[in-house]
Amino acid sequence: MTDANHTLDPSQLPDAEALLLILAGKLKPLLKANTALVGIHSGGVWLMQRLLVLLADQIKLHQIEHGTLDVSFYRDDYAQRGLKAENRPSQIAFDVENKHIILIDDVFYTGRTTRAAMNELFDYGRPASISLIALINRGGRELPIAPQIVAAELSLAASQHLQLTQLADGSLALELTPQHNSARP
């Protein structure tokens, strides 16, 4: 159990670029043959693009494929909130069947995005296994789902919304804003 969630001051936010390096270091031993990386839009895809560069040697060595998922069509709040105005095509160009899939997300929160991503993945085939890595676990999960690897653990109040942003120069930063009217899955 984590401590009672508390409000984090934006100045206490960790540096996303430093966390990225930690994440790359932790991901490295997981990269082996028959593994594929799948980034979840948008933050997970940015992370994956950076990881593909940072871990280029291992990725080439094990011929690791990659793809992207936009889970808009699988979200559990569609009936309440409708379809997001912006959605991008999911792109899984490799055969999912019997692959070890590593899902990449920016911020792990309720676990609902992960559930949606898993459901979508199974519509492409039956993977051998699915793991989840995230830059940050912000606490507050609502499902029996947890990331295998994170670069940092935080404990945020439900009133705070943490997200990854991509700056104009391609570098990554964390951003803390007041929560929208309902929890983001």
């Binding site: 069509f73 709040d77 105005a85 899984i92 979508e120 199974f122 492409y124």
Partner: protein, 320 residues
């Protein structure tokens, strides 16, 4: 002005015609359709968005292709689908349209896809249904066929993404064509700078120029340097008088032959909403040729219809 297609937040509530829809909504539908194209290429060609919802295809006028693509689209969104060919059902026993609709609402239908020979039929139903029910116009009289117009611009965008640089020609029976009207509204709203209509005077509506199109009666002249040729079907069943000497004569003057196609840009694409009258408005060599995108239009039609239903069926429209 009260637009029955949009809710108070400006989100899509019904799709009745392209006329009156802002560019933002058209782009939202086209972008969402882009995401649905890939769904058809997967092992499981379904997404769970409309699970537990019932889509009712109400076809007061026959149309196998439109009904089938709407049916496939709804099923790929996991909806339950009922297709009613009403011309052979209760209407022939004297039931009014709204009574038919009320009965289906009592059976918990969530969405109606309506095709009718009378202009305004979908509009009438949209005004009648309670707020949680959505209506899609699948063609009403000579008025509008919005999903066809949308799938046509989607197809154009796929092959010619720079819409603001295009010259598009719509050829044929514009007078009877709801497709042409929807295409013209979609193209002009999305910023296509030059839309031409090519037709004999008898097959053009009065004051068609007011829709923002350039009118040509000579096909050779009209096809010169166009990027996109959108052929229309000669609507024999809608012809009430002698508007044309004969279909042979029509083909001679307005049929798309390889020779005429050569007048357009070399990479021009050829479209047709179907069903085609080969040898009447289009030569078989062109219809089956490498510039033809007629079959991709059908495929993209499913993605467009999925997008429209997915946008209408969820929440109050679009979330943040």
């Amino acid at each position: 002005m009260n637009n029955p297609q949009l809710d108070t937040d400006g989100q899509l509530r019904h799709l009745l015609s392209i006329e009156g829809l802002p560019k933002k909504i058209l782009n939202q539908i086209l972008d969402t359709a882009e995401s649905f194209v890939g769904v058809a290429e997967r092992e499981v060609k379904k997404v769970p968005l409309l699970r537990g919802k019932t889509v009712c295809n109400l076809f007061f006028e026959n149309s196998t292709r439109t009904r089938t693509t709407f049916e496939i689209a709804a099923k790929r969104l996991s909806a339950d689908v009922i297709s009613l060919n009403v011309s052979t059902s209760s209407q022939s026993k004297g039931e009014t349209i709204l009574d038919t609709v009320d009965n289906l609402i009592a059976m918990h239908a969530d969405m109606f896809v309506v095709r009718h020979a009378q202009s305004g039929a979908a509009h009438l139903i949209a005004k009648h249904v309670p707020p949680h029910i959505h209506v899609i116009n699948a063609g009403d009289g000579r008025h509008s066929h919005p999903t066809q117009g949308l799938l046509d611009v989607f197809t154009i965008r796929k092959y010619k993404p720079e819409l603001h640089n295009l010259r598009v020609a719509i050829v044929g029976d514009v007078l009877h064509s709801r497709v042409a009207r929807s295409e013209i509204h979609a193209l002009t709203t999305l910023g296509v700078p030059e839309v031409r209509v090519i037709a004999p005077k008898t097959l053009l509506p009065a004051q068609v120029e007011k829709l923002g199109v350039h009118v040509y009666h000579d096909m050779d002249e009209g096809l010169k340097d166009v990027d996109v040729i959108m052929m229309l079907r000669l609507q024999n069943e809608r012809m009430n008088g002698a508007m044309l000497p004969s279909s042979e004569e029509y083909f001679k003057t307005y049929g798309l032959t390889p020779e005429r196609l050569a007048l357009a840009k070399p990479d021009a694409i050829v479209m047709h909403p179907g069903p085609m009258n080969r040898g009447v408005e289009i030569d078989s060599t062109v219809a089956d040729g490498k510039q033809s995108v007629i079959l991709p239009q059908v495929t993209y039609g499913i993605a467009i219809r999925m997008a429209v239903m997915a946008i209408l069926g969820g929440g109050t429209g679009v979330a943040l």
